[in-house]
């Protein structure tokens, strides 16, 4: 699918973005080949292990994306670096983060069913990831609230920082909670502590592929954000212009409101 000729201003030049896109494509193709065909099935988990080659990269990306959101939110709030660029990056990255977190949970579930026998377990990492998912889903809901750009940016940046501060607390409390009750045998998350050879390779290709994809999608989503901001501004100006015209056209309404 060819991309539109003109686009909103982005984080990188279109050429650089396309390079990332192509590299991501190759890396993803390599991931499919190595992950699904070249890497051997695991001794204990069997073929289900192959889901780890996308589950782990997805989880890594989720953390990266939310980290980016937190850092850019802080940069927006800091007066010396305040710029809508950071606000857009925060929003775009959060959206990607939610998607990757959702995939992490889904893939974890699909892995858990054959390996643990259950779709879900109240294991510390799963629960923390679930809370993370909802934290940033809320952030996305906040972003959708119509408001002046600077109002929305400040509000969302503060919300992102609060969520970011909360994550270690959630992680710590949940981990502590579950280790007190942990039945180590069945739900041992480190079922495969040592990963060798092609399996490790598959994981690394996965992380690389997803990271490249993230960078590509981030720039693309950023440009969309710029375009939508422009569009909202134009719609607002058009609405105001309409209002002004409409007020002048009908004498009875002159002096009333507007």
């Amino acid at each position: 699918m060819s991309e539109p000729v003109s686009m909103g201003e982005g984080l990188m030049s279109p050429v650089v973005r396309r390079v990332f896109g192509v590299l991501a494509l190759f890396a993803l193709a390599a991931l499919v080949v190595v992950g699904l065909f070249v890497a051997p099935p695991d001794e204990v988990q069997g073929d289900a292990q192959r889901l780890m080659y996308i589950h782990v990269p997805a989880a890594w990306l989720a953390y990266l994306a939310f980290g980016v959101t937190a850092v850019s939110s802080a940069l927006y709030l800091w007066p010396r670096t305040r710029s809508f660029v950071w606000d857009r990056v925060a929003g775009a990255s959060a959206e990607l983060g939610v998607i990757f977190t959702g995939l992490t949970l889904l893939l974890g579930s699909m892995w858990g069913r054959p390996v643990w026998g259950v779709w879900w377990a109240w294991d510390a990492r799963l629960v923390t990831t679930a809370v993370l998912f909802f934290l940033y889903l809320g952030y996305l809901a906040l972003r959708r609230v119509p408001a002046a750009l600077d109002v929305r940016a400040k509000r969302c940046a503060i919300a992102a920082m609060i969520a970011f501060v909360d994550v270690p607390i959630v992680h710590f409390s949940v981990t502590w909670w579950r280790t007190l009750h942990q039945k180590a045998t069945v739900f041992n998350p480190d079922l495969n502590a040592e990963i060798h050879g092609t399996m490790a390779l598959a994981l690394w290709i996965g992380v690389l592929a997803f990271t490249l994809l993230y960078v590509y999608l981030l720039d693309l989503r950023y440009r969309l954000e710029v375009i939508e901001e422009d569009r909202e501004e134009r719609e607002l100006e058009a609405a105001i212009a309409d209002r002004v015209q409409g007020g002048m056209a009908s004498p009875e309404t002159v002096g009333v409101g507007s």
Binding site: L137, G138, I158, S173, V174
Partner: protein, 224 residues
Amino acid sequence: MSVFQEAALVAGKDLRIEARARVISQQILPFGLIVLLLFAFALDPDRGVLQRVAPGLFWITVLLASLLGVSRAFSVEAENGARDGLRLSGLDGSSIFLGKAVALAVELLVFEALLTVGVVVLFDVRLASLPALVLGTIAATVGLAAAGTLYGVLAAGIRARETLVPVLLLPIVAPVLLGATRAWEASIDGVPGDAWPWVALLGIFAVLFVGIGMLAFGPLLEES
């Protein structure tokens, strides 16, 4: 005026409004008791189950009630440009935050005290070791009130406030639910000593969110 004096002013105002309107006693407390009843309908009232999960049910009810409390805390500012009045009052943002958070905490503590009677009666809970339970409850409530006040002001000017605040606040206060429930469980049925680490966690959460609130409330109020 010092921060604390200004905060006391604001807290006094909020509590006086509550004393007159009596929303806690007439609406939120009945809500809490009804929720406890509904839990009994939903779960097997075979005494064993309810008794075991009573701390969790208690704190979930408190969490839900706190959503109402937060909504109420900011709806009193919504009418007659009261929020503008607050902005123009010259009071420091952190003082207003402290005042509102303290008022909300007091209201929640009163609610919790009365709800505890409900829990003891309906679910046949025996409160054993009190110090950890009381301290934990206070720490949890302060944390809840601080986080709630923070998100309340964040969403203050938004029309979808009532549905937005729960989505934002509940994941944030998940550790409070966790810690408070564990502290209660340890104090009621388990080793009371086990409760103290959780009380410490609740304390840290409270301090953290009071701090964040004092920093962020002013800027958020300006924009609301």
